[in-house]
Symmetry: C2
Subunit: 159 residues, 2 copies
Amino acid sequence: MLGPVPDDLLSIGAVASRAGVSVPAVRYYEERGLITSARDAGGRRRFPRSVLRRLAVIAAGQRIGLSLAEIAGALSSLPSDRAPSTSDWARVGERWQGLLDARLRELQALQSSLTACIGCGCLSLERCGLVNPADEAAAEGPGSRWLRGARRTAASPDG
Amino acid sequence: MLGPVPDDLLSIGAVASRAGVSVPAVRYYEERGLITSARDAGGRRRFPRSVLRRLAVIAAGQRIGLSLAEIAGALSSLPSDRAPSTSDWARVGERWQGLLDARLRELQALQSSLTACIGCGCLSLERCGLVNPADEAAAEGPGSRWLRGARRTAASPDG
DNA sequence: CCACCTGCTCAAGCTCCCTTGAGGTCAAGC
DNA sequence: GCTTGACCTCAAGGGAGCTTGAGCAGGTGG
């Protein structure tokens, strides 16, 4: 913020290949405010190394099933210019663990229903937990919509 | 198609409201081949009751995180005109339980990474399991892309 | 008799998360 | 000096899963 920034700044290509995402995706994340960049004299993006961790967090959030907007919310509590401190990280991590827990419980409940249905032959529309969930509003957080798009399409990491 | 069908056939509106989905969604599922319908003299769709179970299966599949195409694959092994037998159902159920298990393990692994990261302050790009998943190809089935869109938008159940 | 409700068929639109393409810039290499 | 490669900025496309709207038909009730 005030000292001379070390010039271990990364180009967008380097960032993309290291993070295992495509270049346009990186630009897209920046456009959406999930990451930021400086520009060099030629107008090219220059990313601090910390962006790699942010991209990892984005990927993890997507695996959990969060939208980019929700991930952006989490990232906004992390410093954009330096590595997160333990407590910075703990805040996000604990929140996400909560979401993860909720998701796990949800799926476990579904699994129980599935097991029960196999047992019962799913012959009862009224009793069956799978057919009659009825408790789908049992989420907790304001942003817990869980399942979201998270397929992987491009960005094959070179290996 | 050949015998006198019992007239416990449901209109699309009844199907939609009972299954908790929108009318266009029901039509969409039919268009995608997940369900089928007969037509009455006036050209309206007439659904057998068994469609309700199929819709429940669709909803469950979406919760698991399957695409409609994958769900269609599962449904294609169920009879479209009658309730599934125990073994019909067991086949699908077991397959889905496998997917569910895989998904649960995935999320649990992610949770472990998250926990570890909180502990370590996520200061190591190289060691961190979250930052360095590297084992993302550890899925088993050919169709296990897990997370998919499954947000709920419309179709607010009235009760 | 006519409004109304339910249903029909397109066709277009929307959200999310990007990808793809067109056309231009800048620095380096032959 | 010209090509190549990485980068830039729009702008459009794409797929999944629907929703929304336009325009029309048919049965029902007041």
